[in-house]
Symmetry: C2
Subunit: 406 residues, 2 copies
């Protein structure tokens, strides 16, 4: 069985008209009218398939197509339809619409499955207006109670609750407590690996762990012309040394990704030695032990550079996400699906965060990635070919059928 | 002969009341009412000594005490009374008031000198409101004609001419064409060398050359999590490598001072690889050849770092001042003066810019530095002890007497 390619691609085009930007690209920030409209487009598609769209207290949308065994846990597929600002049309949308398409095929062919098969479209995966990101899946996993969640204040000063009420976006159903056999998420890669290997798709075996540090350095501001080199306490120099050493660490620890994205100096004048520097360090690795090792080495290095220059140093960790390994059996089912479609079952690790990594500690989970042109995402230039979108959805369909029958 | 210590110190205190700031420190930005008042305080002191204060077309104040030989070129001492914003009371002021005090001693003792002895207080040495700095001495050297100079637009949109006219600060006399035997400038060190050596004063043998570069780097913005290390074009990394290499260069080339004072990244976000970086490099050396060598090495290094990362690079030189060696004979006269006062004739090089370096290519010139507490200047915390101020003025007096008699 294969998905209906035209129907999937048409739905991608239709969803991309909601929140479409004049210059190309889309914008459906979580808990805005556009986000609500995008979610309702999916709900309407479910209704047309004869499936009841259900909504929970935080706005997550889900639907279940019953299996023959009422005691068998559900096989769910999905992703999210909210976007970042000035986004593309594939991130999140493809995973949700592929799940709709799978349900559509099951309905029209009249396939009976032992397990029920369902769709879930999580709210606020992106975390642009309201933190934390992956809010909907965190709620389903049980990390956030509705009261706490509703009181979260966003960048515009309103709360999640204000927006849910204003839009009428919350419902009274719940996925919490529903036994889940597996959660599957199809997503664009957002990186260049598949394109580099000339492969349309791959199975995602895990998500990199992430640790963020903010480093605050305090030295001494002084005249660039009159201060001898040996008497300097140059916070900017230490920032430069940290930046350089992050790249060196990434060379020494295979698989490590390290980035200094933000550097701010004070007073930031051409002829004054910087007295203050603030910089960020973003470290990621698929293996938690290696990530922790990298952070420890990085911290020791930062303290050494600062001490050598006589600069005071304060390191705070501002975010941390554990490295996730997806479920082996689900990975094997996806690989078998790829194999049956004549595709090379290439494995890769996700560099970005996804709802599936939250669900992975709640139920068996894994992901399918499809090739991103130039590795670009979160941008109107984000692009995945029609053929690759269809291939990804077909892989998802094979894996769902396998998991729902067993 | 010695100067009158009390009179010198009283005049320093009195001048510091003009433009005094509530929290300490002073502010007499060039071509403001405070600057004009400061200059007029000096003019009034000259008048009380029976010397005629004269003013040129750009507001420079000078006075000459005739010598016995009308054909002998003048020996001048001076500095400036304008300040930076939020300044201290010694930078510039000490050099001008010491010159006033020397004239006062010559007048009251009735010393006859072969050469005439004079004072000059240059306008706009600091260059805060109006560029270039050292404007008054550049004018006397003949680098700027009055029309060009008057049309220079300041940070507030007014011109130098507007301000000269508003204040009535310009005159019709001129130092241009006056033969000058020597120009001597007493100044605070603005650095920590004398304090570190526990010496009250030193003779300045030259001024470091300076070259400023602005480096603009353009790489490629991308996701910190999904972009493999080998595929990055990280403009921020190159900025860090340049910063680190400036310090290394200063280790490799003795006497070099190198500073990266300004770094700006874009988009400057924790999880995005910086696509753009702008940074400044300030290099100084007392030896012009070594300075030029350092700049060449620096440029080659920057281009190599940028090329290795696939980052586009544009280097522009925004300022350059040649290394200056002061006149050997004037230096020897200052050393002889120090020796006669029982002081160790320590030589040092100026890290900051001064009117004397402009005058040095116009007439023989040299400087005397006195110890700065903590090397601080351009700040209300700027401080030189009474004893050191007096010592500096006494050295200046000995040198002037020597030069004016020979």
């Amino acid at each position: 069985m294969r998905i209906n390619a035209n129907r999937l691609l048409t739905s991608l085009t239709e969803l991309a008209t909601i929140g479409a930007l004049p210059g190309g690209g889309v914008q459906r920030l979580a808990f805005t009218a556009e986000d609500f409209q995008g979610r309702n487009y999916v709900a309407e598609r479910l209704r047309l398939l004869g499936l009841e769209p259900r909504v929970d207290a935080v706005g997550n949308l889900f639907a279940l197509r019953p299996g023959t065994d009422p005691d068998a846990p559900a096989v769910l597929a999905g992703s999210h339809t909210d976007t970042v600002a000035n986004a593309g049309g594939f991130d999140g949308a493809l995973g949700v619409l592929a799940a709709v398409e799978i349900l559509a095929r099951l309905q029209e062919v009249g396939v009976e499955t032992r397990h029920s098969v369902g769709l879930v479209s999580f709210v606020n995966e992106e975390g642009v207006r309201f933190m934390p990101d992956m809010m909907g899946s965190l709620y389903v996993r049980g990390d956030l109670d509705p009261g706490t969640l509703r009181s979260i204040v966003g960048t515009d000063g309103t709360t999640v609750g204000d927006n849910l009420d204003r839009l009428g976006m919350a419902g009274s159903d719940s996925l919490i407590g529903t036994p889940i056999r597996a959660f599957l998420e199809l997503h664009i890669e957002q990186g260049p690996e598949l394109e580099g290997l000339n492969l349309p798709a791959g199975v995602v075996t895990g998500v990199q762990g992430l640790r963020w540090m903010v480093v605050r350095l305090k030295g001494h501001s002084n005249h660039a012309g009159t201060t001898p080199m040996a008497k300097r306490q140059d916070a900017g120099l230490v920032a430069g040394q940290v930046t350089t050493s992050v790249r060196k660490l990434a060379r020494d620890i295979p698989g490590l990704r390290g980035t200094v994205g933000r550097v701010t100096l004070r007073p930031n004048l051409i002829n004054v030695i910087p007295s203050e520097a603030t910089l960020t360090v973003d470290l990621r690795h698929p293996d938690q032990n290696r990530l922790d090792d990298a952070v420890a080495k990085m911290k020791a290095g930062i303290l050494r550079f600062a001490a050598d220059e006589g600069v005071a140093c304060e390191i705070s960790e501002t975010a941390s996400a554990p490295a996730i390994e997806f479920d082996r059996e689900v990975i094997e089912d996806i690989k078998a699906g790829m194999d049956s479609l004549g595709l090379e079952p290439h494995s890769l690790v996700s560099g970005a965060g996804h709802d599936a990594q939250i669900m992975a500690t709640h139920c068996p989970a894994a992901m399918v990635f499809v090739r991103s042109r130039d590795g670009v995402s979160h941008n109107p230039r984000e692009f995945t070919s029609d053929a690759d979108c269809v291939t990804g959805a077909d892989i998802l369909l094979q894996a769902v059928l396998q998991l729902a029958s067993g």
